[in-house]
Symmetry: C2
Subunit: 129 residues, 2 copies
């Protein structure tokens, strides 16, 4: 893969998707895991803002388009076998639709899942009533 363009090196799966981890570039916090198709990668590289592919909506998902919680792309990494992407981003506000900074807020405690963080902003404030 060295010497090839990124887009020619990503091994998209049979659905044309690759998993993409978003990490806050300076703190190292893992914010979310989403999916990208080829067009999402192209748009992300072209605009410098994270664009994913929404499997539920079957459409490009310009992160923050509705909520304002955009992710500025700082760098993008591809893994050793080309089937996973790491986006280093600068997250405006919160990454999670629940209003939390990170989507990874559940952890097992005493045998059951607990919420480790509280929302920093209400979903209503992010998406309207």
């Amino acid at each position: 893969m060295p010497g090839l363009p990124l887009l020619d090196s990503i091994r998209f799966d049979q659905r044309g998707l690759v998993p993409a981890i978003a990490q806050q570039h300076d703190t190292g916090e893992v914010l979310m895991l989403a999916w990208m198709n080829r067009a999402a990668v192209e748009e992300t590289l072209a605009t410098g803002r994270a664009c994913y592919f929404s499997r539920s909506r079957d459409a490009l998902w310009r992160k923050g388009e509705t909520s304002g919680q955009v992710q500025r792309l700082v760098d993008i990494r591809l893994d050793c076998d080309g089937d996973a992407v790491l986006l280093l981003v600068d997250q405006t506000g919160v990454a999670c639709h629940t209003g939390r900074r990170s989507c990874f807020y559940f952890a097992p405690r005493d045998g059951v899942l607990a919420e480790l963080t509280r929302p920093e902003v209400s979903p209503e404030a992010l998406y309207g009533a």
Copy 2:
């Protein structure tokens, strides 16, 4: 999902798999992305060592079993919609089969992929000649 056991809250895909990010617990470095099935999650929780599911070998993959590069589980997180897992681990040695600390070592530079890191150990030393 709060109040339910982790295993009852993970939304495995149609193949019975969930993507799992491994992150070094103290430095925040994202080491790799792999996949887990239910048995891999159960074994990881029971042993405190990361166990994945190898799609290429179609079998449980006890990380480090051959190479010695094990991952001690520090914590495990589930995301907001239950379809991605984050393992906070203490990585012995290197995570990548190429001998690099992290699998995410490719990045686009001047339009083509460059390798940002060099192997810290040779694959031959990890896996034998």
